[in-house]
Amino acid sequence: MYNEKVVEHFCNPRNVGELLEADAIGENGSFKCGDTMKIYLKIKDDRIEDIRFQTYGCGAAIASSSMLTEMVKGLTIDDALKITNQDVADQLGGLPPLKLHCSNLAADALHNAIENFRNGKVHGESA
């Protein structure tokens, strides 16, 4: 069902956990499949210095969370904002059509975190 790259990220997810002194925290949840994701950012000079995630979700959700964190680490937040869900899925070498929406969690949670940061908050409304 999943390709090798997805499975590899699922088995060995990068950047898992919390950042205790995060500059921003983003969240996203899918009501449809119940998945939820949290992104923790350490930002210095508008650049993502460190990133961690926590995901409750299926294989696709976990692998795309992991992939996203790899993709944006070190980027400026402007560049990070340009990364779309599709980019993450592409970088994973594709996902089953039915699972595409699960991968949408990740970039959206990141965008939410950056938004919070720009609004001068650590947490968004929902937290």
């Binding site: 956990g17 449809k32 119940g34 939820t36 994701m37 949290k38 409750y56 979700g57 959700a61 929406h101």
Partner: protein
């Protein structure tokens, strides 16, 4: 590669036993005739089909004339429900449960859309319907009750015997989807007041694509298909002879071994449930006793079922989250919602279904692997520690 391959998804489908394949093989080549043909090659095959019918009937406590071969459980269910509605002609009332397989549930929804009234009986936290609620649901135009014998996800057994008594008393046709129970627990149709019973061979080590429908003598439905007159017009089309022979052989073997298998699987099930419940924040779904000998269904909180399945798959263990059919879907199963699970708990449910070939070593292997799998996923989960559970 995983160290071991452990198939624990026997409720989805089962391997065909060697004896069954052997029984089927002659009917592909040497005995390939059409049972409707009057020449010798046809007549030999006709005899085999009728012997298979007799064997199947015997295993269920039925008469050969009450057994009709179909292409599977889905077809048996559709023929009964749609056929009974077609026979009735005018709109009427049907009672079913809210945890039926889609092959009953969806037919009922369609019949409702076509003008019938349908009551979907609720179930308790264990997945059992209540006889009182059944009694109350009956109206003068109730013409059919369809309640499954055992649930395919949580394994809960329904009080079929008591339901049958109510149905007989109120003169209502009673159908039971016995796809999960057939070959697992004894069925004696002489003692049960069941008018229609569906089963599917691939659930008891028989081949896929063949099923049977028991129709009690005198009970009638209007056939859905027309064509040749096969299966006394209830299911026309050239008979799937190897399938029919395979079904009857699988049934015969299953019934002969039913007691031993039940004992063996129940022991494995006990060991598994005990082992799984030792993982914290794990709950058992379904009835603690009134359940299929082979069914274990648990919810691991804070993790999502598909991720657990995927991890298990990588360790060589095949299981299922909810019914195999609904695995393609994203919504949590209607069964788990009907027994009152919240979304996350329903999403974290895993069904292990034991069967022919499973050993104690399989269970040991599972119990060795599963805590690690669940733990790894919980480590990633945003809800695990915020729920007041142990920190990393």
């Amino acid at each position: 590669m995983s160290r071991r391959t452990v198939y624990m998804d026997h409720s989805a489908t089962t391997p065909v036993r060697e004896e069954v394949v052997e029984a089927m093989l002659p009917f592909y080549h040497e005995l390939f005739g059409n049972p409707s043909s009057i020449h010798a090659p046809g007549r030999t095959v006709r005899r085999a089909v009728e012997e298979a019918r007799e064997k199947t009937a015997l295993a269920l406590g039925a008469e050969p004339g009450e057994i009709f071969f179909t292409a599977g459980g889905t077809e048996s269910n559709n023929i009964t429900l749609r056929g009974a509605a077609k026979k009735r002609g005018e709109p009427g009332h049907i009672i079913t449960s809210s945890i039926e397989h889609h092959a009953v549930l969806d037919v009922c929804s369609e019949l409702a859309a076509e003008g019938h009234r349908v009551t979907f009986l609720p179930v308790d936290q264990y997945g059992r319907v209540s006889i009182d609620q059944l009694q109350e649901a009956i109206t003068p135009d109730t013409f059919l009750i369809s309640i499954m014998a055992a649930n395919n996800e949580i394994g809960t057994l329904q009080p079929i015997s008591a339901i049958g008594e109510v149905a007989r008393e109120r003169k209502i046709l009673f159908h039971t989807d016995a796809v999960q129970i057939a070959g697992q627990l004894p069925i004696d149709l002489k003692k049960l007041n069941v008018d229609f019973l569906s089963l599917s061979a691939h659930k008891f080590n028989g081949p896929k694509g063949i099923g049977a429908l028991y129709v009690r003598k005198g009970a009638k439905v209007t056939p859905l298909y027309s064509g040749g007159g096969q299966e006394r017009k209830l299911r026309p089309g050239t008979e799937n002879v190897p399938g029919i022979v395979g079904l009857s052989r699988a049934m015969e073997l299953a019934v002969a071994e039913i007691k031993d298998k039940k004992k063996r699987l129940e022991a494995l099930r006990y060991k598994m449930i005990t082992g799984l419940m030792a993982i914290d924040e794990t709950i058992l779904n379904g009835h603690p006793e009134e359940r299929l000998p082979n069914n274990v269904n648990v919810s691991f909180k804070h993790v999502e079922g598909e991720a657990v399945l995927l991890s298990l798959d990588l360790e060589g263990i095949a299981a299922s989250s909810g019914s195999a059919c609904s695995s393609g879907s994203l919504d949590p199963s209607h069964v788990l919602r009907a027994i009152g699970l919240d979304h996350p708990t329903a999403h974290g449910s895993i069904r292990f279904s034991l069967g022919w070939g499973n050993t104690e070593e399989d269970v040991d292997y599972l119990l060795e692997v599963i805590p690690r799998v669940v733990n790894n996923l919980r480590r990633i989960s945003p809800t695990y520690r915020t729920n007041g559970s142990r920190k990393e």
